[in-house]
């Protein structure tokens, strides 16, 4: 009889964790646990005795899991990352996609594959969402700086908003820089002089 795979997902963000758990449960026969608090991470993971551990490559706490690959005797070493050479290609794809998966030695690649494939797809999607969010935030920040720079120009030169923006754009083009960078330089310089 083939038993469930036990999968532990290390993820601090609750929504992301839920998204990953849902995807895994749909596509593979596995029981999924989420560890969301990094304090004593290695011990918490070991307590679940997982077959596979999934963690975002960008997560610095990954290094804490390396302890899992060490145990007193060679037979007790429970977890290794892609120890099976059959999983080699899968490992490479996962690393490139931003997933780190720790897989118990001896699991057959056929059983690992659906879990890893799902994780890769889900991590890619979440990563894209996170990048988009970061870009939106940055765009908002830049808007604020540009608005401040426009205000400074309007005051200093007695011009209207459109003219101030046109001046920023022209300067940026002349200098081969981004409008936001020119605006930031102006705001910083004004703060220093003011």
């Amino acid at each position: 009889m083939v038993t469930h795979l036990t999968v532990v997902v290390v993820e601090e963000d609750r929504d992301r964790a839920i998204a990953i758990v849902d995807a895994l449960k749909e596509s593979a026969d596995c029981e999924v646990f989420v560890v969301g608090n990094f304090s004593g991470l290695a011990r918490k993971i070991a307590a679940h005795a997982p077959d596979i551990v999934l963690i975002d490559v960008d997560n610095p706490t990954r290094d804490m899991m390396e302890e899992l690959t060490l145990a007193s005797g060679p037979l007790e070493r429970p977890v290794a990352m892609f120890v099976s050479s059959a999983a080699g290609d899968l490992a490479q794809t996962a690393v490139e996609a931003g997933v780190s998966a720790y897989v118990v030695d001896g699991l057959s690649p056929a059983r690992i594959k659906p879990v890893i494939d799902t994780a890769i797809a889900r991590f890619r999607m979440l990563r894209q969402m996170r990048t988009e969010l970061a870009e939106t935030r940055r765009a908002l920040e830049e808007r604020k700086v540009i608005d401040r720079a426009k205000g400074l120009l309007m005051n200093a030169k007695g011009i209207d908003e459109d003219a101030a923006y046109a001046l920023l754009r022209k300067t940026a083009m002349d200098q081969g820089r981004r409008v936001a960078d020119v605006a930031e330089a102006l705001v910083t310089a004004t703060a220093l002089l003011g």
């Binding site: 990094f38 304090s39 004593g40 290695a42 490559v57 960008d58 997560n59 610095p60 706490t61 990954r62 290094d63 804490m64 899991m65 390396e66 302890e67 690959t69 060490l70 060679p74 977890v79 290794a80 990352m81 892609f82 120890v83 490992a91 490479q92 690393v95 490139e96 780190s100 720790y102």
Partner: protein
């Protein structure tokens, strides 16, 4: 000459300086390469990126390539340490609670005597002292064990846990760890955050400990000898530049940039100059050879250093069945170092192996070019590591 891009994974630490400087000061360009520097979030990620071919070369903890050759830690792709990027540079420290207890018994944070520090620490701690380190395969772990086994703390007197340095202050506050051993700038960051105080520089335990290495996949070294040579020469030139005191200011300014370490230049300067603030009370200590990039033949990958590491890892993880020291020695590629740096001003030592721990004063040794003087490499207990005595 066409510029070839070499991708390079590193952890944002002061000792990544030779790689960052090689690119930023134009040493890479002189060799016709450009380094695509990729900061990594963790040491396991550096290792995986190198092993699975995401990058060509990496800044690596010196025990990692040896551990990989031993089959420890899962990923076992053959990796070569082609040169040593930095010698020394770690600090040992304690959190607020132990600092307070140490001050209560009148301990002076003199940052120098490992035996005295161990006596004091053993007298104020109840039970095991839990040390946080960045990675299980690291000089940090080896120095800590070596020190405890030979002092009042005892081999069983500590427990070592992996904690990524950016999270060390939190781990101290949460009581997950009592003390830490980390590389700069993280020790100084802990002090400035008021998270604790520094007890010892790593080189108080071993005066010449290989800390980080320049690592490449062994098959890449075989198939890209020309590229490897250019990379090694660029990094060696950067190390030499870093070894000159007059360049420290510039180096600190470059490393502190947001793209690299993203901390103040003053913080970086502490490690580069060896003037460390050891506590939030402002006590400053001067340490000779706190972090070496060039002097004393620092970048030469001694086969005996690899053997020392393998001997320690064998005892800790694979008693009775570990790697032979001869096999481990092959991981530190003094052969490639000689082949690729012959055309530079590097003084190549006559031997590739030495007795570790015998040098007490700077000592001139036989070398291809004049002027190679090795720096002291003694262990604090006076022991000598003779690889030929290990079966």
């Amino acid at each position: 000459m066409r510029t070839v891009s070499v991708s390079f994974a590193y952890m944002p630490l002061v000792d990544a300086a030779p790689v960052i400087i090689a690119e930023e000061m134009g040493f890479a360009a002189t060799e016709g390469i450009s380094l695509d520097l990729i900061p990594a979030p963790s040491w396991s990620s550096v290792r995986d990126m190198l092993a699975f071919g995401r990058v060509d070369a990496a800044h690596m903890l010196s025990p990692v390539p040896v551990a990989m050759a031993m089959g420890l830690g899962g990923v076992t792709t053959p990796v070569s340490a082609v040169s040593v990027l930095s010698v020394n540079g770690n600090v040992l420290g304690v959190g607020k609670e132990l600092e307070t207890r140490l001050r209560a018994i009148g301990f002076e944070f003199d940052f120098s005597d490992p035996t005295k520090v161990a006596d004091a620490l053993a007298s104020v701690s109840s039970g095991k002292v839990v040390f946080g380190v960045p990675f299980p395969f690291s000089m940090h772990v080896e120095l800590l064990h070596y020190w405890c086994e030979r002092t009042a703390i005892g081999g069983d007197g500590i427990e070592i846990r992996t904690v990524p340095p950016p999270l060390m202050a939190d781990a101290l506050a949460a009581g997950d760890v009592d003390a830490f051993c980390v590389g700069e700038p993280w020790g100084s960051v802990a002090v400035d955050q008021g998270a604790g105080a520094l007890l010892l520089p790593g080189n108080a335990i071993w005066q010449f400990a290989p800390e980080k290495v320049l690592a490449v996949r062994s098959d890449w070294a075989e198939t890209e000898p020309d590229l490897l040579g250019r990379l090694m020469r660029a990094v060696w030139q950067a190390g030499r530049w870093l070894g000159k005191p007059e360049n420290r200011g510039t180096a600190g300014e470059i490393l502190s940039r947001r793209a690299f370490l993203d901390v103040s230049a003053e913080l970086v300067d502490r490690a580069l100059t060896g003037h460390l603030a050891v506590s939030s009370q402002g006590e400053v200590r001067k340490v000779e050879n706190f972090l070496c990039f060039h002097s004393g033949g620092a970048s030469f990958p001694w086969r005996s250093q690899a053997k020392w590491i393998a001997n320690r890892l064998n005892k800790a993880h694979l008693p009775g069945e570990g790697i032979s020291l001869e096999a481990a020695a092959q991981v530190f590629r003094s052969d490639l170092y000689r082949a690729h740096l012959r055309s530079t001003a590097a003084a190549l030592p006559g031997a590739s192996e030495k007795l570790e721990g015998t040098i007490r004063h700077p000592t001139a040794v036989a070398s291809t070019k004049r002027g190679l003087s090795l720096l002291p490499d003694a262990f604090f207990d006076g022991a000598i590591f003779d690889p030929s005595e290990i079966a």
